[in-house]
């Protein structure tokens, strides 16, 4: 427990540092929210007034301290572009983002884990080669192209799914089950596009980690003791092969809420990716700071969770940890 408390306490200055640095970097980027449009009917004096109203004429440090003060009061501020509370904008997008990212992650894990292990176990056989080729093909096809191809084929020609969007507006007042099924039908194409692009990496990790484990002395000795291949694979190798996957998943946690911009753009999916990228281009500082703030918390959380999970999967780590903490 003290280990976890320590880690959490240590994260606070880290988050403060990250937020300050990102604030600086953002402000150093050329332009500001009022310079985003070039319209001959707009007078410079109006832009100057808006800039003053938004506090953009204040010194950088003052702006940062104001932001921090609001944050400590639990206020993430208002978007400079829409005037909408930042937290509302994020909450609007979070459900769609999580729905897509969590479902795709679960499906990717379900697909890649057995396939990766199998590839590692059957290393350099035709099965390993064909899975590898297939997964690399998925990795190298550009997402936007694959997405459009899916829309063209599954939506336009086969008429299985809608081209894009989240929920048919006509079903606004429909029963929840009808809505849920409609959302699912909208989700299928973006989901499969993400999965095809996402499986290659994890299959490779699983495969490599399995190969490494199977080459270890204790596996050889297990074989020498005459244990069945099944027992060696599932009892001795599998658990250890999971370690690197946990690291990857921990690092992947922020991407669950950050959204996938290209996918969201192609499929008009109302997720966080579009919100974040738009905020960058519009120099919408409050929105950007909020997304960076959440991402940094999730990165730290993800690492922490990975560390904790290690101790369950690999008892050596927990022992070492205890020794170090003493």
């Amino acid at each position: 427990m003290p280990f976890i408390v320590r880690r959490i306490l240590g994260a606070i200055p880290l988050i403060a540092g990250v937020s300050f640095l990102s604030f600086l970097i953002m402000q150093w980027a050329p332009g500001d929210p009022t310079l985003m449009y070039l319209d001959p009917t707009v007078n410079q004096s109006d832009l100057a007034q808006v800039r003053q109203n938004l506090g953009l004429d204040q010194p950088l440090l003052t702006q940062y301290i104001l932001w921090l003060k609001e944050l400590l009061n639990g206020n993430l501020g208002y978007s400079y572009i829409t005037g909408k509370p930042v937290i509302t904008s994020i909450m609007d997008r979070l459900p769609a983002t999580l729905l897509l990212s969590v479902s795709s992650l679960i499906l990717i894990l379900i697909i890649t884990f057995p396939l990766g292990i199998l590839c590692g176990y059957k290393k350099d056989t035709w099965l390993d080669d064909s899975i590898t080729i297939f997964s690399f093909l998925g990795l190298s096809i550009p997402t936007f192209w694959l997405g459009l191809l899916f829309i063209l084929f599954f939506s336009l020609h086969l008429n299985w799914f809608p081209t894009s969007g989240f929920l048919n507006p006509m079903l606004m007042e429909a029963p929840w089950l009808t809505k849920a099924l409609n959302i699912m039908s909208h989700m299928m194409l973006p989901l499969f596009t993400i999965i095809i692009g996402g499986i290659a990496g994890l299959i490779r990790y699983n495969r490599f980690s399995m190969i490494k484990i199977l080459a270890q002395d204790y596996i050889t000795s297990a074989r020498a003791r005459g244990l069945s291949e099944r027992r060696i694979l599932f009892k001795h190798a599998l658990k250890n092969a999971m370690l690197p996957i946990i690291t990857i998943l921990g690092l992947d946690l922020p991407s669950l809420i950050s959204g996938a911009f290209v996918i969201e753009y192609i499929f008009s999916w109302p997720g966080m990716g579009q919100l974040g990228v738009q905020a960058v281009f519009q120099r919408d500082y409050p929105m950007l700071m909020a997304t960076i703030f959440f991402s940094s918390i999730l990165i730290i959380l993800g690492n922490l969770m990975a560390d904790i999970l290690y101790t369950y999967v690999d008892p050596r780590i927990s022992r070492a940890g205890k020794q170090n903490l003493r």
């Binding site: 009917t41 697909i111 063209l152």
Partner: protein, 529 residues
Amino acid sequence: MTPLFTRWMIILGSCFVCFSCTSPTHSGAASTLQLHLSGEPTVLNPILSTDASSSSVEGLIFSGLFRINSTLELEPDLAESYAVNETGTRYTFKLKKNVKWHDGHKFTAKDVKFTMDTVLNKKTNTVRRSNFIIGGTPIQFKVIDDYTFEALLPKPFAPFLMRMAIGILPEHALKDIDINTASFNRSPIGTGPYKFKQWQPAQYVYLERNSNYYLDAPKVKTIIMKIVPDTNTALLAFEKQEVDEVGIPGKDLKRYQDESFLTLYRYYDLVYTYLGFNLNHPFFSDPNVRRAIAHAVDKSALVNGVLMGFGTKADIPSSPALWSYPPNDQIPIFDFDPKKAADLLASSGFTMNPNTKILEKNGQPFSFKIITNKGNKDREKTAQMIQQMLRKVGINASIQLMEWSSFIATINAKKTPKPFDAVILGWALGLDPDGHSIWHSSQYPNGFNFIGYNNPAVDKLLEQGRTTIESSDRKNIYHRIYKLIANDVPYVFLYFPETLQGINNRVKGLSPAGPAGLMNPIENVYLVE
């Protein structure tokens, strides 16, 4: 493993089958018009918004004192009539009496006054304030009675009426509320033909017919404006009839030419693309050099190469669609003529270096950089083609593509000379010909005259154009302005792109194709199945 794999394929397959059964049926589609928005609206408030998506939605919800009809003329909307005094400084508006806000409140002159005061209030984050300030003095707005409203101008100002087309806000819904962050901006109340019902962020805006509308009752019951940012997806959604209209890029036109479910409309938009020179650059301060470049650029090749033929060449900063456009014989034309270009450059003291094949003056090679914004494929291609055309007359142009905000920061740099040589950019033309913000010397270095154009005769005419009320007089003034500007060649005016719009054949009651939109007014639009 094989059984496991098979099991998964079965599960995945059944997902497909299951969800494919739920493909949406368009219940109520017959009474619903599905429009396309290419971006998420920012804020549904006509005095705050600056983006095209927001104004498309606002146009249906809000009304102004005037509106622009399909022939680009102003016609009374909330105003019943107006009168102006002889000096052109006092406008009296009679307002329509039968107008109600979408929430049932009566519309009165107080709402107009409230809107104008809010625009003029410094705390409002609006970029429209200067529209109602003339020579540093704000226009005074006065309520005479519930349906009479007066505007007192410090001096005559021709574009004033056009500016009164701004959407009017309800005082009762916004009084004593911070308008910048008001929730009103996300669930607006207007007086227009359609009522706001719902806005699902990044999905759609849902509007319903205003049955109390004071003009002709709208025929279409509901309008759903779908937000589809990707052009290709929007085209596919149009083909699948999930949206009823879409902008079609020239390169994709062939795919749709023979389709029976749609009608194609073509019109020139009020936007022109130009090559602008930094007039403080040592080479470009010489008008002959600029004229030479104008002769070296083949505009027809640009129209064919960049716009696939869907456009026309531009010669002056105005569009043939506007009333202020002069007759052809009054427009100075710089034909594509590389020989003439070479002669003009020679007369300005440039000589060809036989080794580099680049022109030189006083030992300085004629090299310069064209900047434009990254991501605009038309401008990128234009830059490349111009680069090749100039290379043929011995000018070495390089290209730098810049991210939008760095690009804006460069041309808006508050110093002189500004840190660029030449720029490729486009201007959207307003319906009023006033070009003060682009051509007047007072708009440099802070303003949109970032090239530093300074012609006292043009300055004087621009000021005259703003204060002259009689439109035939104004016409003459602008003809003279265009002639002077075209002769000075501060820009090489390149082309007007053509807008190609596909509309589903179930949509009827459209207006003639033009920059004021095909569904203008929206009340006339109806659907057939």
